[in-house]
């Protein structure tokens, strides 16, 4: 299995045209923007990229397009979460055949799976490919369903390609458990922060991060990432505080907020796909003003 080590991973948004088809021309621009602005890898389509609103065929096509566009400059990680195990396995196999460097998967939608079901589900998916396999722990996105340390340790025993965990729970106890226990079972097991709350995760021992907000503020994210990678946490604190302001401004407005924020910086990714509604114009203006009050965001570049 490959020795892929993930660093700063950007998670591009999916742009839609007025008639809600994927806007591939714009997607090419988006990918190039990320590669020019600090991405050491791409993960797509994550939830922020509305993966849940894409058809199976669209997900495949999107990945193939991204791989073509990236031309091997950075690794591309395919997000393959589905409710049904066999459907997720098929997406995983497609990702491997298409040339993805790794797959990432979170808990199945809707089912509120018991621990035994989760173990079975994740084992089957991981066993269907040889490329590195990452779990995404996202209780806030998955109705409270979380990856447990017991599940992580069981999967390490079962799957050679289980390479690491990406976490957005921000739960200190869980992060410490992963680093101290999982790495005892598998020394090169990777822990990445799934959001740009990098100080605590870095101090605990996470290396690498997913950066959904790099679409809005790639320089801020890169500075925070570099300072934390050097373990200069005190120096990183003002930037971490600015990130927290950005995060809260976008979070309360969801994916619509993310797209509106990108648009306000001249990086239009279209409106979100139904059932998600775009922000009203007044809400877009309020968000844009809120973002400009964050000095590092105001200093970011505009456009692509």
């Amino acid at each position: 299995m490959s020795d892929l080590q993930l660093g700063l991973v950007h998670t591009p948004l999916t742009p839609f045209t007025g008639d809600i088809a994927i806007d591939f021309e714009q997607y090419g621009r988006i990918i190039n923007f990320h590669l020019k602005n600090g991405a050491e890898a791409l993960a797509l389509p994550m939830h922020v990229a509305e993966s849940v609103s894409l058809s199976d065929a669209e997900r495949r096509k999107l990945l193939e397009f991204a791989l073509e566009q990236v031309e091997g400059r950075v690794p591309v990680i395919a997000h393959i979460t589905q409710s049904g195990t066999s459907i997720a396995c098929a997406l995983a196999q497609h990702a491997e055949q298409a040339g993805a460097a790794a797959i990432i998967c979170t808990t199945p939608y809707y089912w509120k799976p018991q621990p035994g079901m989760m173990l079975q589900h994740f084992t089957e998916i991981g066993a269907t490919v040889k490329i590195p396999y990452f779990l995404y722990n996202a209780p806030s996105e998955m109705g409270g369903t979380r990856v447990t340390i017991e599940l992580v340790l069981d999967l390490i025993k079962r799957l050679d390609n289980f390479a690491g965990l990406v976490d957005i729970s921000l739960d200190w106890q869980f992060l410490i458990d992963v680093v101290s226990n999982a790495r005892r079972a598998k020394p090169n097991f990777q822990l990445l922060s799934g959001l740009e709350f990098l100080i605590s995760a870095g101090a605990i021992g996470a290396k690498g991060a997913f950066a959904p907000h790099a679409t809005i503020a790639p320089r801020l994210v890169k500075r925070l990432y570099d300072l934390c990678s050097a373990e200069r946490y005190k120096d990183a604190r003002p930037t971490q505080h600015e990130f927290a302001s950005l995060y809260q401004a976008v979070k309360k407005r969801g994916v619509s907020g993310m797209k509106a924020a990108a648009r306000s910086l001249g990086r239009d990714c279209g409106d979100p796909r139904p059932p998600i509604l775009p922000l009203m114009e007044s809400a877009q203006r309020a968000l844009a003003e809120e973002l400009l009050r964050i000095p590092s965001v105001a200093e970011e570049g505009r456009g692509w």
């Binding site: 729970s169 921000l170 739960d171 200190w172 106890q173 992060l175 410490i176 458990d177 680093v179 101290s180 959001l195 709350f197 100080i199 605590s200 995760a201 870095g202 101090a203 605990i204 021992g205 373990e231 946490y233 005190k234 990183a236 604190r237 971490q240 505080h241 927290a244 302001s245 995060y247 809260q248």
Partner: protein, 304 residues
């Protein structure tokens, strides 16, 4: 009236006789033990001290013993929250009268209060006494009832004696929501994490922690804090991983397991009041084997 809180502040358990009555002489030995082993402050009676299973009269007796035994060597904070606000007020007035250095209050129990109700509650207590007041944030135990950044900001502006927060969210986003508002408005504000999660919190500007494991391993507590303050992250990680294993051990049936572990350290403090169980002999033996594996039996003081 100004006190500085930092480091790993010790929150002793409540020693009980075999008939479940308060063992005040043992409690005094314990407070003295903590101070001799480097505790920068004493805090009593937190939930681990079974505060909610004691009468108001017992809480007053213990508070008096804590203040008397500390004898000005270190500051003493008294946790005054009870189910009924009338009792809380009585305990707060008593704490001031006996010469305690601060009071600590949690969001009201049971009622799922709104932010406005929490605000009024803290303002009432904070304006009633001349002591510094600390608040206690425990969303995990209290079904999401918590101090938001906005609420903390309003309280800091209203109360000159609001000096710090015990935060038991153990979550980067939640900690930052409070700390970035509080430290901006009041740079001396003490962000104190509820268990020894110093590695993720000190780099965010945390002042220290209250202690879960201090009655077992005071040396390890101080080692972890020193390493964090010195930004010696490798040493801090080693200590944090170890102390988190202790927390895992004691978190189950807390504080019964902690009391069971104290037997093994030559510092028995008697049973635990119902409905909390008392650690069985088997549980004590298991804890002993874990303490042995972690090197606690050899690296930490035995007896009082």
């Amino acid at each position: 009236m100004s006190i500085t809180l930092k480091g790993v502040m010790q929150a002793p358990v409540t020693p009980l006789n075999e008939d479940f009555s308060l063992d005040i002489p043992c409690f005094e030995r314990m407070v003295d033990f903590h101070i001799r082993h480097g505790a920068p402050a004493i805090a009593w009676p937190h939930h681990k001290a079974e505060s909610l299973n004691m009468t108001v009269e017992e809480r007053k007796l213990g508070a008096e013993a804590a203040v008397k035994t500390s004898a000005g060597r270190v500051p003493v904070s008294i946790f005054v929250s009870a189910l009924a606000i009338k009792d809380t007020i009585e305990l707060a007035r008593h704490a001031e009268k006996i010469g305690a250095d601060a009071i600590l209050v949690i969001t009201p129990y049971y009622w799922s209060p709104s932010p406005e109700e929490i605000y009024e509650y803290v303002v009432r207590l904070g304006t009633m006494v001349d002591l510094p007041i600390l608040t206690y944030n425990s969303p995990g135990y209290l079904e999401g009832i918590e101090f938001t950044g906005e609420l903390v900001g309003r309280l800091i502006q209203r109360l000159p004696n609001f000096i710090g927060m015990k935060d038991a969210s153990f979550n980067s986003e939640k900690f930052l929501e409070i700390s970035r508002v509080a430290l901006e408005l009041r740079p001396s504000f003490a962000m104190i994490t509820g268990v020894e999660f110093l590695l993720p919190s000190v780099p965010l500007g945390g002042a220290g922690s209250f202690s879960a494991a201090g009655a077992i391993s005071p040396n390890l507590c101080n080692e972890l804090y020193d390493a964090c303050v010195a930004a010696d992250w490798d040493r801090a990680r080693a200590a944090q991983y170890k102390i988190t294993r202790l927390w895992m051990l004691f978190r189950e049936q807390y504080p019964s397991s902690l009391k069971g572990g104290m037997v093994m350290m030559g510092r028995p403090v008697g049973p635990t009041r119902s409905p909390l169980p008392t650690a069985t002999k088997e549980r004590q033996d298991y804890i002993r084997s874990q303490l042995d594996e972690l090197g606690i039996l050899t690296n930490e003081p035995h007896g009082w």
